[in-house]
Amino acid sequence: MSGHRILVPLVLVAALIGLAYASLAVGAFDAAPSNVFAALAGGDDRFTVLRLRLPRVVLAILVGACLGVAGTIFQTLLSNPLASPDLIGVSQGASAAAVAAILLGGLSGAAVSLFAFTGAVAVAALITLLSWRHGISSYRFVLIGIGVAFVVQAFLGYLLTRAEVRDAQSALVWLVGSIGTPGWDEIAITALGAVVLAVALLPLAPQLRMLQLGDETATGLGVAVTRSRILLTLVAVGFAAVAVAVAGPVLFVAFVAGPIAKRLTGSSGAALVTSALVGALVVVAADFVGQRAIADVRVPVGVVTSLIGAPYLLWLLARDNRSRGSL
C-alpha cells in the first residue's frame, strides 16, 4: 500500500499534464502538437494558446487544487464525507460576499478575495455556532449547513436581481461557478493565496492526521485539539475562499476530491496532496468538456461538475440506504 502513496500522485500528475496539453491543443482552432510547444516557447499560434487557453488551464488547476484540499480538511475534521464546503454553504457564502464586494462596493482584485474569505469564515462560524450543543455533531453540522446554504443562495439571488448585471455570463459565474478567461493578475492573486495557505498548512498537516484518531487520542499525543481544529478550519475556509473568489462556487469538486483520493491511495488517512491533484484533474477535465462538448455554447465548469457530482452524491445515498439504512 505504501507504494501507492508515491505512485498514485505521479500517475495523477502525468494525467494532469496530458489533460492540460489537450486543453491547450484542442478547440475551435486545433493547434498541431509541435505548434503548442512552439507557442509556449513564443512561436505561432501564440494568441490562441498563450492568451486564451493557457490562463484557463492554469486557473483551473489552481481552483481545483484549492477546492480539493479544502474539502478534504473539512471532511476529515468532521469525519463526515458530507461536510464539504460546497454542500454546507461555505462556498456560497464566499460567493455572496464576493458579489457584494463587486456589485455594491465596486471592488476588484485582491480585495474581492479578501471579502470572499470573510464571507466564507462568517458562514463557517455561523454554522459552527448554530450547531454547537455540547460539542459538534457532524450530522447536525451538515443539516444546518444545508439550511444556511439555502439562505445564502437566496441572498445571492437577491444581489443579482438588484444589481445591473448586464453581462449574463458574469452573473452565472457567481451562481454556478465558471473559469472564464482570466487575466494573469487574477491568476497571480489566486496562486499567491494558495501558496500562503499551503505554507500555513504544512505544520498543521500532522495534527490533522492525529485528529483523525479521535480527539482524546489526539490530546494524548500532545495535540492542542481546539486550537488545531480552529486553525485547520481557517486554512480550509481560506482555500475554499481563494478558489471561489475567482471562479465562483464550483460545486462538488471539494466534495468528491477527498473520497476519490482516498480510494486511489487505499489509505484511510487524509491524502492532501492526492486530493489537490484529483481536484485539479476534475476541474481541468470538466472545463475541457464544458468548453468543447456543445458547439457554440461555452458551458461553465460548475455546470459540468454538478452534473457529474450530484448523481455521485445520489448514488452514495442510495447505496448507503440499501446497505445500512442510514448514512
Binding site: S137, L143, I146, Y158, P300, V303, A310
Partner: protein
C-alpha cells in the same frame, strides 16, 4: 381556546392580511378607498392599483401559500420527517426545470401549456428524491435532505445549461428564481387553481390516514390501512399542490417547512387539524412576507421568497438543534 376557536381566529387573521395586502405598498391607500375599490367602486389611480396590481398578487399569495402549506404538512406526515419541504426536497427544482424546458425548447408561452410541465417535473423530482432518500432503512431527515440538495444541484445545473443556449430566458429567470408573487396574471391562476383545489381536497381527506400512518408502517398495516395507497395518494396531492404553486409563484422554499410546525405546536399531533391549520397559515405567512417585502426597502420591493427564506431558515436551525432530530 378550543381548536375551532383558533381556526376561526385564523380565518379572521387571513381576512385582515388580505385587506392589508390590498392597502399597503409603495402607495398607501386608506381602508375605505381600498374597500370601495374591491366592491367595484374604485376611482382613479388608487382604484387601479388596488384592483389591477395588488389584486393578482394577493390571489396568487392566497393560492400558492395554501398549496405550499398543505404540501409541507403532507410531506412531513407521509415521510414522518420534520424537515420535509417542497423546496428543500427538490420538488420545486423539478417543476422549475420542466417549466424552463417547456419555454426554451418547446416554445410554450401560455400558462395553460407549461403548467403540465410543472406537474411532470414536480412528480419526477418527488419520486427520485423519495426513492434515493428512503430505501429499506426508511427515510431519515439527513438522507432525504441530502437527496433533495443533490437533486436540486443537479437540476439547477441542467437549468443553467438550458438557459445558456437561450439567453433571452436568462434575465427573466433571474427574477423568477427568487420566488415572487408579482408578474403573473389571473389567467395563469385560473388555469392552475382547479389542480390545486383537487390536491387540497385530497390532502384534507388524507388527514385521518396520516394519523394512523404516524404510528408506524407496521401498526398502520395491522389496523387495516394500505400504507402504499396512502403514500401514492399523498404523492399525487403533493405533486398537484407543489407543481401548481411553482407554476404561478416560482420556487418558494420554507413555507411548507415552517407552517406545519406552527400548526403542530398549536393543535398537537392530529393531522386533520394540522392540515386545516396549514391551509390557512400558508397564505398568511406568504402574504405577510409579501407585504413586508413591499415596505422594508421602499420604493423598491423584496421578493416574498427571499423573506420567507429569512423567516424559515431560523426555524430549520431550531428544528435541527432539537435532539430528537439530530440523534437520527
Amino acid at each position: 381556546m378550543t381548536r375551532t376557536a383558533v381556526l376561526v381566529a385564523l380565518v379572521a387573521g387571513l381576512a385582515v392580511v388580505v385587506v392589508a395586502s390590498f392597502a399597503i405598498g409603495a402607495r398607501d391607500i386608506d381602508l375605505s378607498t381600498t374597500i370601495a375599490a374591491l366592491l367595484g367602486r374604485g376611482e382613479g389611480t388608487d382604484g387601479m392599483v388596488v384592483v389591477d396590481l395588488r389584486g393578482p398578487r394577493t390571489v396568487i399569495g392566497l393560492v400558492a401559500g395554501a398549496a405550499l402549506g398543505l404540501a409541507g404538512a403532507l410531506m412531513q406526515g407521509v415521510t414522518r420527517n420534520p424537515l420535509a419541504d417542497p423546496g428543500i426536497l427538490g420538488v420545486n427544482a423539478g417543476a422549475s426545470l420542466l417549466v424552463i424546458v417547456a419555454i426554451a425548447v418547446f416554445g410554450v408561452s401560455s400558462a395553460s401549456g407549461y403548467v403540465w410541465f410543472a406537474f411532470i417535473g414536480a412528480a419526477l423530482a418527488t419520486v427520485l428524491v423519495y426513492l434515493v432518500g428512503s430505501g429499506r432503512g426508511g427515510a431519515t431527515p439527513l438522507s432525504l435532505t441530502l437527496a433533495g440538495a443533490a437533486v436540486t444541484a443537479m437540476l439547477t445545473a441542467v437549468i443553467t445549461l438550458v438557459l445558456l443556449t437561450d439567453l433571452d430566458t436568462l434575465s427573466q429567470f433571474r427574477f423568477w428564481q427568487v420566488g415572487s408573487l408579482t408578474g403573473r396574471d389571473l389567467a395563469t391562476v385560473a388555469t392552475v387553481a382547479p389542480f390545486i383545489a383537487v390536491g387540497a381536497v385530497l390532502a384534507l381527506v388524507l388527514g385521518p390516514r396520516l394519523n394512523v400512518l404516524a404510528l408506524g408502517d407496521d401498526l398502520a398495516t395491522g389496523l387495516g390501512q394500505s400504507v402504499t395507497v396512502t403514500r401514492i395518494a399523498a404523492g399525487i396531492a403533493v405533486v398537484l399542490l407543489c407543481g401548481g404553486a411553482t407554476a404561478i409563484a416560482g420556487p418558494i422554499a420554507f413555507v411548507g417547512l415552517v407552517v406545519p410546525h406552527i400548526a403542530r405546536r398549536v393543535v398537537g399531533p392530529d393531522y386533520r387539524w394540522i392540515l386545516a391549520y396549514s391551509l390557512l397559515l400558508g397564505p398568511i405567512l406568504l402574504l405577510v412576507a409579501d407585504i413586508v417585502g413591499r415596505i422594508v426597502v421602499r420604493p423598491a420591493e423584496l421578493e416574498a421568497g427571499m423573506l420567507v427564506a429569512a423567516i424559515g431558515a431560523p426555524v430549520l436551525v431550531a428544528l435541527v438543534r432539537r435532539s430528537r432530530v439530530s440523534a437520527l
